[in-house]
């Protein structure tokens, strides 16, 4: 790769004229400039969230409950615990639904569907489904679930699971594709059934990549706000029961507090934002570590 992308070395055959060389330099400069320009908002947003979030976060903020009503000052008793618990529960249960189903779906596309039209259609539609706006997923869960069973954390889990499903399918599918066919053939030759080959040979061979892709999907889902807004509602008190009653999450709390004119709301929003980013980054870091350590087959 490096041999072809770099300029040829040794005898100088590339005696390019001044303008051509300048154009090349300009192009390279523009590419680097684009990267640096993208770094600016990234660094800026991280700096703001960390500097403003750190001053808002305390043990009281993380573990206290209920979330102070907007009219109270910042130092009122209570904290973000209801939202932290809500985010962990809702996202965790969504992962529990979406990851097994997503991996199974990928197994169907790669191991069973083969080159058939149905596998192709499912794979294509999973791509399309990743493009469905998250707010539409919220409306969907609202119409089929919340209208009948009222607000609950579970509805939020369903909405997030719908968002994660196609992402998990696509990333798992990419990983299953990398497993060499010889492994499968060797297992068939030993007389194993297809289910057994898939479960004990193919999936373990791809497990590193599948886990890291799934964790990345969970990290993205943990920050989603739009699908939760009107299926879990927003409470101020702790509701550890995922299956009934209105719930709350860090992301919806940020949204509510960002629009609130009351004293302390902005600080609460920054504190919740820092907490949420830390959760998302831990998940992403886990994903990267798994990729680095356990991936057996790469492109």
């Amino acid at each position: 790769m490096a041999a072809i992308t770099g300029q040829p070395r040794g005898i100088d055959l590339t005696e390019t004229s001044g303008w051509r060389r300048t154009k090349n330099r300009i192009a390279t400069f523009v590419m680097w400039f684009a990267f640096i320009a993208t770094l600016i908002p990234l660094v800026f947003v991280l700096y703001t969230v960390i500097s403003k979030g750190v001053s808002a976060i305390s043990w009281q903020f993380l573990s206290g409950s209920p979330i102070p009503a907007n009219v109270m000052p910042l130092n009122a008793p209570g904290g973000m615990w209801p939202a932290i618990l809500g985010t962990l529960e809702i996202t965790g249960f969504a992962a529990l639904i979406a990851i097994p189903l997503g991996v199974l779906g990928a197994v169907y596309i790669n191991e069973y569907g083969g080159k058939g039209w149905l596998a192709k259609l499912i794979s294509f539609m999973a791509d399309v489904m990743t493009g469905v706006p998250s707010i539409v997923m919220g409306l969907f869960i609202f119409t089929i679930w919340t209208l009948k069973f009222s607000y609950s954390g579970l509805a939020g889990s369903f909405a997030l699971a719908c968002l994660m499903l196609p992402v998990v399918i696509k990333s798992s599918y990419e990983m299953l594709r990398l497993v060499p066919d010889q492994l499968r053939q060797a297992s068939y030759a030993l007389g194993a059934t297809k289910a057994r080959v898939t479960l004990t040979v193919v999936l373990p061979a791809a497990i590193g990549g599948i886990t890291s892709g799934a964790l990345l999907a969970v990290a993205r889902a943990a920050g989603e706000t739009a699908p939760l807004l009107f299926v879990i509602l927003s409470t101020q008190t702790t509701n550890s029961n995922l299956f009934a009653g209105a719930n709350t999450a860090l992301s919806t709390q940020i949204f509510v507090n960002a629009q609130s004119p009351f004293v302390g709301a902005e600080e609460r929003a920054w504190g919740a934002a820092l907490t949420l980013i830390v959760i998302a980054f831990i998940l992403m870091l886990g994903s990267r570590l798994i990729t680095a350590r356990f991936t057996r087959y790469t492109r």
Binding site: A2, I4, Q7, T14, R20, K23, N24, I26, T28, M31, W32, F33, A34, F35, T38, F44, V45, L46, V49, L101, G102, L104, G105, Y108, I122, F124, M125, V128, M129, G131, V132, P133, S134, I135, V136, L139, F142, T143, C162, T193, K194, A195, R196, T198, A219, G223, E224, T225, L229, L233, S251, I254, F255, A258, E266, A269, A273, L276, I277, M284
Partner: protein, 328 residues
């Protein structure tokens, strides 16, 4: 497979037998489970269309075509026209794509053609960080940090410089507001950059090495190689990547809801406050009921249909260019 009840006389005794019925059942069960999981994708997509259509049917039937595409949005008279929201959605996502595409394509070229592979991976991680920062955090940063700064230092000076200038004055002149179409476009651009970058990078990575080496062998500079070998090969794929980015920008909700200004209007002034379909749903749905709720769900269905069309188009472009390249 299913008719192995009688022993086939053609097979001599003692030769390999079909698997025992018990193992067969487990095998079939697993295959069925995988099939169901796969079909779930299709089922969910169909259910989204059906359930939202059902819940918004009353809006579609009472408003009619002219009512749906009118600019009148009045709760007291039960008139819900979607035009201003459609307009805002399209304008903000187009601004986002215009900003994001040159940046993303440049970064993708940087990653595939300029830096050695060892350096490319850390750069990819950094770009992916943009995607991991939650939308609501971009919105929070947007409304508290970016909006006042843009209003006080950027928009007002641009607007006062361009007021009265024929076309530019209509686009960038006053009235200006920090929370506006353009601010939403900027935030959306930041959010779609990682998506377009990673898709464009995949496209550029499929350019055959022989093409690139051929260009270098003819004495091309790197830029000439990119224009002569990489670009013709990846045009279709890049258009697909842009469409996927456009679809994402259209559906992005929370960040836009916080910085768009939340006032529905159709205007050429990009620095003026506006509204978009996802943000009006996010802001008003919790209090909505009856016909109002039906209209908001209908807006959601419109958005769903638009993004599906954009995504189908995108995949079409990618598939077609991939097929053409395989044929060539």
């Amino acid at each position: 497979m299913s008719t192995v009840t009688k022993a086939d006389p053609a097979i001599p005794a003692g030769s390999a037998r079909p698997l025992s019925a018990g193992r067969h059942l487990g095998d079939r069960g697993f295959a069925l489970l995988a099939l169901i999981a796969g079909l779930l994708v299709l089922v969910i997509l169909v259910l989204i269309a059906v359930s939202t259509a059902q819940q918004s049917a009353s809006w579609f039937s009472t408003a009619g075509w002219s009512g749906i595409f009118s600019t009148v949005w009045n709760q007291s008279t039960n008139q819900y026209g979607a035009m201003a929201y459609l307009y805002g959605t399209v304008i903000t996502s187009v601004i986002a794509v215009i900003i994001a595409v040159p940046v993303s394509v440049s970064i993708a070229l940087l990653l595939t053609e300029v830096v050695p592979r060892r350096w490319a991976q850390p750069i990819v991680y950094v770009i992916d960080l943009l995607a991991v920062i939650p939308s609501v955090v971009w919105g929070l940063w947007g409304i508290i940090v970016l909006v006042p700064w843009l209003q006080n230092t950027v928009y007002s000076s641009i607007a006062s410089a361009l007021n009265g200038v024929p076309v530019l004055g209509n686009l960038f002149g006053s009235p200006t507001s920090g929370a506006s179409f353009f601010t939403a476009g900027i935030i959306l651009a930041i959010m779609v950059i990682p998506i377009i970058t990673s898709l464009a990078r995949e496209v550029f990575a499929t350019v055959p090495t022989t093409d690139k080496e051929g260009a270098y062998a003819l004495g091309a500079t790197r830029w000439e190689m990119i224009r002569g070998a990489v670009w013709p090969h990846s045009q279709g794929g890049v258009v697909g990547a842009i469409l996927v980015g456009l679809g994402r920008a259209m559906g992005e909700t929370i960040a836009a809801a916080l910085v768009i200004g939340s006032s529905a209007q159709v205007t050429s002034h990009l620095f003026a406050t506006g509204y978009s379909i996802p943000s009006v749903i996010a802001n008003q749905f919790p209090e909505a009921s009856g016909e109002f709720r039906s209209a908001l769900i209908g807006l959601g269905l419109l958005l769903f249909v638009i993004t599906i069309i954009v995504n189908l188009g995108a995949r079409g472009f990618v598939e077609r260019s991939a097929r053409r390249m395989r044929g060539a």
